[in-house]
Symmetry: D2
Subunit: 230 residues, 4 copies
C-alpha cells in the first residue's frame, strides 16, 4: 500500500497516512492573503509559487505551512512513542492498556543495529563499530518472553489490565492516531531525523517526511532541502 511505510526490520512497525488537508497550493494561497491576493482560481502551482514557498522557508515564515494537515496511524515501540509524544503540537489517540489486553508484539533490533555504547559522547550508540555483543538479541527476546509470561499470569488471575501491564517492557509495540500540521511535522522531522536522535525514531521520522513529501513535494523540499525524501 503506497501510503504505508514499514520502518523497522520486523514488518510490525509502520507509519500510514490516513488523511490530509491542503497542498502546496494551499500554502501559497494562505501566504498571499498577507498581500490581499486571492489566486485560488488557479489549480496548480507554477514557478512563481515555487519561488514563494522557497522564500517562506528561507525566511522562516512558517505560519502558511500550518494550513496543511496530516493524519497518520503509527505503530511503534513504546520507547519511541514516548519520544514522539513529547511533541505537544500533535493530536494523539493511542491504544489503551487499561481498556484492552495488549498484543504482545515486541521490537528486537537486528544485530547490526544494536551497536555498542559510546564513551566519549555519553548518549552515542555506535552502529557497525566493532561487533557488539552477539548474545544481545537473544537476551532481549528472553526478557520479553518472561514479561509476556508474567502479563498472562496476572490476567489469568483476574488482576486488572491496568495493573498487569506494569510488567510490560518499553520494547512493546503500541499504535496511535497522530495529526499534525506541516510546519510542526517539519520541526519533528528536523529533530528526529537527526544524528543525535535514537536510530529507531530516525526511521520513523524519515517515513513521516516521505509521506508528507508525496502530498506537498515543493514545501517539504524547501523546508528540508538538505535531505531528499522522494
Amino acid at each position: 500500500m503506497t501510503n504505508k511505510i514499514f520502518c523497522l526490520n520486523d514488518a510490525l512497525g509502520y507509519v500510514e497516512l490516513v488523511c490530509t488537508s491542503g497542498t502546496d497550493k494551499t500554502v501559497v494561497d494562505a501566504a498571499r492573503v498577507s498581500h490581499n491576493n486571492d489566486d485560488r482560481s488557479k489549480d496548480a502551482t507554477d514557478l512563481r509559487d515555487r519561488k514563494l514557498i522557497q522564500y517562506l522557508a528561507d525566511h522562516k515564515h512558517t505560519s502558511p505551512f500550518e494550513h496543511v494537515v496530516f493524519t497518520f496511524i503509527v505503530k511503534c515501540p513504546l520507547f519511541i512513542a514516548r519520544q514522539w509524544m513529547r511533541h505537544r503540537t500533535w493530536s494523539y489517540n493511542e491504544i489503551s492498556g487499561r481498556y484492552t489486553e495488549m498484543d504482545v508484539e515486541y521490537y528486537t533490533p537486528l544485530k547490526e543495529h544494536i551497536g555498542t555504547q559510546g564513551t566519549a559522547n555519553k548518549q552515542a550508540r555506535y552502529l557497525g563499530y566493532g561487533e557488539g555483543w552477539g548474545g544481545a538479541a537473544d537476551r532481549i527476546r528472553d526478557a520479553y518472553a518472561n514479561a509476556t509470561g508474567a502479563y498472562y499470569d496476572l490476567l489469568d488471575n483476574e488482576v486488572p489490565r491496568e495493573v498487569a501491564r506494569m510488567v510490560l517492557p518499553l520494547g512493546l509495540y503500541t499504535r496511535f492516531y497522530a495529526t499534525v500540521d506541516l510546519n510542526n511535522l517539519i520541526k519533528f522531522v528536523g529533530l528526529r531525523d537527526h544524528e543525535g536522535a535514537q536510530w529507531e525514531i530516525q526511521q520513523y521520522a524519515r517515513a513521516v517526511a516521505k509521506l508528507a513529501a508525496k502530498e506537498c513535494p515543493i514545501s517539504v523540499s524547501a523546508l528540508l532541502g538538505e535531505h531528499n525524501y522522494e
Copy 2:
C-alpha cells in the same frame, strides 16, 4: 456558493470553508484505536458509530475530534478578528497593513443591531430594547470617512503604510486564513455563539458551526446538541 456564508448585513463579511480533512468516521476510527480496533474497511457511519460519538461528547473524551481539521477564509471587522485570534489553538494568516494598502471597507451595524448600553450588566448591549440613537449609524459612517481621508492623505505623502494604518478604525474589514481542529472549533463556537459574546461574533460563530455541521453532522450535533446548526 454553498461553502461560503455571509454573516453581517452588508454582503462583505463572510466565512468560507476552503478545505477539510477527516469526517465523522475519522472520529470513531481514532476513538476505536483505544480498544485496538480498526474498522476502516467500513466506509459510512452506522448506529453504533453514532452512539460512540455521543458517548465521547457526553464524557468529554475530546481527543478523537482533533483528527478532523477545517481551513476557513474569514472576512470580518478588526474588532472581531481581535476576539477570534485570542483562540490560540487556531492557525492564522492575515492580510497585512504593512505589506499592502488596506481596502477601506467598514462595518456599520443596522439600526436594529446597534441597541443601547446595558447598565445593570456592564457589558450588555440591549437589542430592540427601546429605540437607540437614530443618528448612530451616520455618526459611525462619518467617522469612517474621516479616517479614510486621513489614511489616503498619509499614503499620498509617502508616509509608510505601517504608520498610515494607525488612523484606521476597528470597524475596518480584514481577511484571514484560519485552520482549526473540530475539538477546538467546538470550544470556539461554545464561547462565541453565546449570549455573553458580542452580537457580531455570534453571527460568525454560527456560520463556522453550520459549515462544520455539513462535513461532520453527527459530531457537531453531539457536541453542540442544544443548538441546531443544520
Copy 3:
C-alpha cells in the same frame, strides 16, 4: 518537607513543588485589567477579590488563572508519566534512559490496591471488591527482577543504554520537571483526580492539587469546589 508529598505506598513516588509565580492576588489583578483597573497597591485579597475569583470560576473565565505558574518535580512510574505527558500545555524535562543508566526502582501496588478486573465496565478496576489474587505482587516483583537482570546483562556487555532499556517495564520509576499554569493544572486535576482515572494517577493529581492549594487557596477552592484539598 512541606513542599513534597509522597503519593504511593513505597516512599519512592512523590510530587515536589520547586517554584511558583503569582498568587490569588495575581488572578484578580489580571482579571481587573479587563475593566482597566489596577489594584496592585493592595497586597492581600479581600472579600471582593474572593467573590471575583468565584465569579471567574463559575463563568469559566479561565484566562486570569494562567498568570499563576507552578514548577514541580515528579517521581512516578512510567505508566503514569505516559498518562501525565499527554497533557500538552505542561513543560517537561525527564530523566533520559539514553543519557544515563536508569535506577532500577519499581512500583508494586499493595494487595489492597491491586483489585480485580471489572467486566461490565471494561476499564474498571475493583478495589477491595473480593480478595484479588494473593500472588499478584510477588509475580510482579519477580517480573521486575527478571527485567533488572536482563538490563544489567546488556549493559555489562556494552549494549548501548538506549537499546538495553527496551527490556525495562512500565512499572519503572522515572523523574521529571513539570511546569504548568493554574488553569491547566486544574484541568489536569479535574481529569485525573476522577473515578475514571487509574487509581495511581489519582494519588498524584491530589498531591498536585494540595500543593497548588497552599499557594492559591481561594482559586483552587473556587475551581475545584466539590473537593477539599486543604
Copy 4:
C-alpha cells in the same frame, strides 16, 4: 521604577515585569534531570552551569528554558497588541472595550520615526532617509481627535460601548497582562527585535529582553548572544 521600561516617545507605552518564577539555576537544574542529577543544594550558578546553559542554547535544547516564567503588564498601541497576540504560547488578559470605556490615549510617532514608504522592499519603512512628510504627525493627531469626538458622541447617546469602539483607531493604547516562559519569550524577541519587524514593536521586544536579562542574565545572553540586553 526598575521593573518598568517606557518604550516609545510619549511616556505612555511601557513594559513592566510583575512577577517571575525560576532563574538561570532552574534552567540547569531542569536540564540535569536528564542525567538523573539533582544539584539543587547549590544556590548559585558556577562556571560549569554557565557552560551547560551555553551548550543548551547552541544545540537548541530549549525545553529546560520553559521552567522559567515571566508575567508582564504591557501598555501599547492596538496595532502592536495585534502583532504581539499572534504569539500563541503567551497567556493574555486585556482591557476590554466592551466592559469599560476606553481611555482615549493614542500613539503618534515622532517625525524622525515616521519615515517614508520603501518601494523596492514592499514592507520597508525608511527612517531618517530623506525628510518624510512634515505634516504627517499633525494629520494623524487630527484623525485621532475626530475619532475621539465620534466615540464620545456615540457614548453620550447611549450607544453600547462595544459598538462605539468601532470608530477607535489602531493607534489607541491598550493594556494587558502577558505571561510566557523563557523559551517562548526568546522566540518572540528573535522575531520582533528584528529589522524585518515594525520599528515600534522592536522597542517593546527590546524592553522584554532587558527585563528578562535582569532575572536570567546567563540564559538570555546564551540564547540571544549577538545582542546585548544589559
